[in-house]
């Protein structure tokens, strides 16, 4: 049919290499989420600070992250900054690009979550002698992270999928990059990318399942 014969055996023999790639993909996604959450908290604080410069910085970040293609963001982190003589490895560029995207989306999620937390919570903390930062850290932020938990899970899934954009900046050790290289060697295009697709699917499903288990523990109250 269509002159193409499936050769799954040959493609499946490359599975160990692809799974190694999947580990790199997960590593990038996890790192980009961890750093992205920290940055999003910082951006949220900037927005709450009442300082115009900090607020403007945070708003610009969120706007760019949410309203330009992720591909653009990753390109900028690699080729864009290279114009200024800053050279990152493909791995670092992809990590920066995805982290930038994560932080922007998450900061917006956090802003929504904050609306559900009454101002009186902060006031109660301040009345107990806490500084504004302490009241945020001990009272507001834990509630905010719980409320934003589901959107955070979605963003984690996005981060996994965005790693596939790494090939555009020359990354070839992640799942998508490995698959592409194998394809160039063997031309088992359909089989290889189908396997990659299944692996992507399984990873994101496991994340969603794991998140549900964690949520059950977090949302006890």
């Amino acid at each position: 049919m269509f002159g193409y014969t499936f050769q799954w055996k040959q493609a499946l023999s490359k599975l160990p290499q692809m799974l190694d790639g999947a580990l790199v993909t997960m590593e990038i996604a996890l790192l980009s989420m961890a750093i992205g959450i920290a940055l999003a908290v910082l951006l949220t604080l900037f927005r709450l600070s009442g300082n115009r410069v900090l607020n403007g910085f945070a708003v610009t970040w969120v706007e760019v992250a949410r309203n330009t293609p992720a591909l653009f963001q990753i390109y900028m982190a690699h080729f864009g900054v290279a114009s200024f003589g800053i050279h990152f490895s493909p791995f670092t560029s992809l990590l920066i690009g995805i982290t930038f995207n994560n932080a922007g989306y998450l900061a917006e999620n956090f802003r929504g979550a904050l609306k559900a937390i009454p101002e009186t919570q902060t006031r109660a903390g301040r009345s107990l002698g806490m500084t504004p930062l302490e009241a945020f850290g001990y009272i507001v932020m834990p509630q905010m992270l719980r409320i934003a938990f589901l959107p955070m899970t979605n963003q984690m899934v996005w981060a996994i999928l965005m790693t596939s954009l790494g090939v555009t900046v020359g990354l070839n050790i992640d799942l998508y990059g490995v698959t592409q290289d194998l394809n160039a060697l063997t031309f088992r295009t359909f089989e290889l990318f189908a396997i990659a697709g299944v692996i992507f699917y399984l990873i994101t499903k496991i994340i969603q399942l794991g998140a549900r288990l964690v949520a059950a523990r977090l949302f006890r109250y």
């Binding site: 109660a124 009345s127 107990l128 009272i139 834990p142 509630q143 109250y221």
Partner: protein, 240 residues
């Protein structure tokens, strides 16, 4: 001692406090009554510095609350305040609600904070609810937890802002009992309240606020039985 000297406070064009003078000596239980919008809550939040004042002075143990050099976070440790809304921290258990500030603000050890929390929670009748989340508590229980939380900081003064107003009638009694207990132990207290019977019973003095002015202040028997101003007469007639 809390000294309030000629305090003025506006929100925009709205004058809420118009020259309040009031001294609360240690050990006194002062209740504040008055119509809605007369500035009672505002006075309490000015005393602990949550709100700024326009002019005048508020001294707590001689420290000017609104002076630039005053460390408000430090000062608030001796001024416990409990609000109408219970403000339980929903993500923390009852015990954690009470130990949070002693640990993070006062730097107490976990054991030290726990010991104090258990003492205060038992005091308000919640000794058996330590590991429960606030969502499992009734309004009255949440409010008593908020009182224990404030007491765990070992404050010298307690400010109460209509702490029973958001409660179902059958739960008001248990919270008032807690306040009575505190009063009997000699805590210096300012209680804003709509509970006239309670005010009459526990107060050393009662202050009546009317449109940002402290119109009358006297021991309860005198204030309730021989009101001097027309506005207080009208107010009392309306509440009885």
């Amino acid at each position: 001692m809390i000294e309030i000297e000629n305090v003025y406070k506006s929100f925009g064009a709205l004058q809420v406090l118009k020259g309040i003078n009031l001294t609360v000596p240690n050990g006194e239980v002062l209740t504040v009554i008055g119509g809605s919008g007369s500035g009672k809550s505002t006075l309490l939040t000015c005393i602990n510095g949550l709100e700024k004042i326009d002019s005048g002075r508020i001294l707590v143990d001689g420290t000017d609350v609104h002076a630039k050099s005053t460390d408000l976070n430090k000062l608030r440790q001796k001024l416990g305040i409990v609000f109408q809304q219970f403000n339980a921290f929903p993500h923390l258990t009852v015990l954690e609600n009470v130990t949070l500030a002693p640990r993070k603000v006062l730097g107490q050890s976990k054991e030290q904070a726990r010991e104090m929390a258990v003492k205060q929670l038992s005091h308000v009748g919640l000794g058996d609810k330590l590991d429960v989340y606030p969502s499992r508590l009734s309004g009255g229980q949440q409010q008593r937890m908020a009182i224990a939380r404030a007491l765990a900081m070992s404050p010298d003064y307690m400010l109460f802002d209509e702490v029973t107003s958001a409660l179902d009638p059958q739960l008001v009694g248990e919270v008032l009992d807690t306040l009575r207990l505190l009063a009997s132990e000699g805590m210096t207290m300012i209680c804003v309240t709509h509970e006239m019977k309670f005010a009459r019973e526990v107060s050393d003095r009662v202050a009546f606020f009317d449109k940002g002015v402290m119109a009358e202040i006297a021991p309860p028997a005198q204030l309730f039985d021989a009101p001097q101003t027309e506005s207080l007469k009208t107010f009392l007639a309306a509440t009885h």
